[in-house]
């Protein structure tokens, strides 16, 4: 460590600054672990955190029914909350950066509307291909529609030079088109199908299985390293598009690439859980308030914050109304907004 011997005051100051951010990241991660355990412990039949820990470390120690509750119901749902929250918030963070827009989220481009339309279509038509039932076809159709919507926007944006305003405008157009199609489907749907559509739209973690968790986790595992490879370009973009271009960053290509990643992340998340859109907006903002916009910290921070908020929402969904499991999409905003407001207010006092 000869580095530290010759370190200038500026180098020392910056090192302390980075250290604080690492601490914040560690705190977020620790909070997420606690929330995950609490989520697994919460539910209709009481399961103390100690038992959850026991069951995780030594699965053989639990009796059979507890083991089934823990491993087949609680843990997949708790894990799903974590990976979906991380996916949506990471997608939102990248989206806000490349579109220079703090209001952007994965759903700005009509992704959730497209996914909802896809899911509704599968529900109403009772789609089944190759003998695969609705548990596969509904998410598959939702994902396919979300991807199709993105590809259309990509194609259109490419012809127009892929500026941020163009992308947002096409996205808003897509929201309206997809909503119209969704209403059309709902209009012709039977009462039973309509109820299923509404329930799907509210978002639920109860449908989680290990396979679904695995798929979403895989998408996250593919996209996160690609995002981290672009951290410096994305950070530079926060100083202004013209400046970033002058550093040799191919901004338009980067924007299209990020949009593709975002739609994969959000498409996978929405397909299995339904619409929990608020996470993609609030996760990045929490990370920005706590960690700033150096994307080395901002992107992982956003993913952790999103995972934490959805995990807390999952606990709230099970405990707000005793004996009733609320759809997590309803609870997300109710839990996320107070957290968000507290952060904003504490920052105000700090400066």
């Amino acid at each position: 460590m000869t580095e530290t011997m010759t370190a200038t005051p500026l180098a020392r100051r910056y090192r302390r600054f980075v250290f604080r951010r690492v601490i914040v990241l560690a705190l977020l991660a620790a909070g997420l672990v606690l929330s995950f355990l609490a989520d697994a412990a919460t539910g209709p039949s009481a399961l103390p955190v100690a038992a959850v820990l026991h069951g995780l470390l030594d699965p053989g120690s639990l009796d059979r029914s507890t083991s089934v509750i823990l491993w087949s119901i609680r843990l997949p749902a708790a894990a799903m909350a974590v990976v979906v929250g991380a996916c949506l918030a990471l997608a939102g963070a990248e989206m806000q950066t490349v579109l220079h827009n703090p209001l952007a989220s994965p759903f700005t481009l009509g992704l959730s509307n497209a996914a909802t339309f896809g899911a509704s279509l599968a529900i109403v038509l009772e789609l089944s291909v190759l003998g695969l039932g609705p548990s596969v076809m509904v998410p598959a159709s939702a994902f396919a529609c979300a991807m199709a919507a993105t590809l259309v926007i990509q194609g259109l944006a490419r012809t127009q030079g892929a500026g941020p305003d163009t992308v947002v405008l096409f996205g808003i157009a897509m929201v309206f088109v997809m909503n119209a199609l969704l209403w059309l489907v709902q209009y012709v749907a039977s009462a039973d199908a309509l109820q299923q559509i509404v329930f799907w739209t509210m978002g639920s973690l109860a449908r989680a299985t290990w396979e679904k968790v695995g798929i979403v986790a895989l998408v996250l595992a593919v996209c996160l390293p690609l995002s981290l490879r672009d951290v410096w370009a994305l950070t530079a973009l926060r100083g202004g598009e013209e400046h970033a271009r002058s550093f040799g960053i191919p901004v338009r290509r980067l924007r299209l690439l990020v949009l593709l990643r975002v739609s994969l992340l959000a498409g996978a998340a929405v397909a299995f859980v339904g619409t929990v859109g608020f996470i993609g907006l609030v996760g990045p903002h929490i990370a920005r308030l706590a960690l700033g916009e150096d994307h080395r910290f901002f992107l992982p921070g956003a993913a952790l914050a999103g995972a934490l908020v959805l995990s807390l929402a999952s606990i709230a969904a099970k405990s707000l109304v005793p004996g009733l499991l609320l759809p997590v999409g309803i609870v997300t905003a109710l839990v996320g907004v107070p957290l968000f407001m507290a952060l904003i207010l504490s920052q105000r006092r700090g400066t």
Binding site: A11, R13, H243, S246
Partner: protein
């Protein structure tokens, strides 16, 4: 002569609209500070952007033994540092991160420790250390402009392209910034092209002035060659250049000419 910058028949524009027409500028030796002077719309910014690779350009632009126009953006940013006219936008990035990203995004090959040394060196050189850990949103326009300059200088380019680098600065920092650019050119032998509206600063610090008008080069020479007649052609004013008691040459604008008396109005470039 192999070193330096040579422009031959450089044309540039946006889409089908040509803004620069056949700019020729003989070899500009290493270590030169060159002022680009001209009225609004004369093509100063476009010339800088063309050399930075941000607008389509044709013709020849040779820097040392490199053909600038034929280079990929990734290679060109190793040689050029461009400061746009717009200030870095207000974000919650701290100044240190903004400058670091300008280096690391352009030079992914640099080891982190070396990148850190270079970033610290540029903060030291521009006197920006007190601002290093402040957020861009908290900085004034002039402070952000200096951060922008640090972003352009941190790659240690051979060619600095500065679009009105002192437009947001107070008197003290105008001198400070131009002195740093001057000393960088003297020490490292890099060339700096500066689009400037303040002709007196240009006369004081630069070795050479390129006067642009309507997308063409009106004059290329030492600052001493700038006189009333050239001011008239370039800006459409009655003006004069006089020597002050300290020996600096000072340009004075007396009166704007009537529209009809000055054919070279802005917009002729298109």
């Amino acid at each position: 002569m192999t070193g330096g910058l040579t422009l031959g028949g450089l044309t540039a524009g946006y889409g089908r609209r040509r803004v620069l027409e056949g700019i020729d500028a003989g070899p500009i030796p290493p270590g030169s500070l060159v002022a680009l002077i001209g009225c609004n719309g004369a093509g100063k910014s476009t010339l800088l952007k063309a050399l930075a690779g941000l607008v389509a350009a044709a013709g020849a632009a040779a820097l040392d033994s490199y053909d600038l126009l034929a280079m990929t953006p990734a290679r060109r940013v190793r040689l050029t540092g461009y400061l746009p006219q717009t200030l870095p936008q207000g974000s919650v990035l701290v100044a240190y991160e903004a400058v670091t990203s300008a280096l690391r995004a352009a030079r992914p090959d640099l080891p982190a420790a070396e990148a850190e040394r270079r970033v610290q060196a540029v903060f030291d050189r521009l006197g920006l250390e007190p601002l290093a850990l402040r957020r861009l949103t908290e900085l004034s326009g002039g402070q952000r402009q200096r951060i922008g300059l640090a972003q352009a200088m941190v790659r240690r380019p051979r060619l600095l392209l500065l679009d009105e680098p002192t437009s947001a600065l107070d008197l003290r920092w105008q001198l400070n910034v131009l002195e740093s650019v001057r000393s960088l050119a003297d020490r490292d032998g890099c060339i700096a092209l500066l689009a400037m509206h303040d002709i007196n600063l240009a006369l004081r610090f630069c070795d050479r002035t390129l006067v642009l008008g309507g997308g063409r080069l009106l004059a290329d020479g030492p600052p001493a060659a700038l006189d009333g007649a050239l001011l008239r052609r370039a800006f459409g004013i009655d003006g004069r250049v006089e020597t002050c008691s300290r020996g600096y040459r000072i340009a004075l604008a007396d009166r704007a000419l009537d529209e009809g008396a000055w054919p070279d109005t802005e917009g002729n470039a298109s």
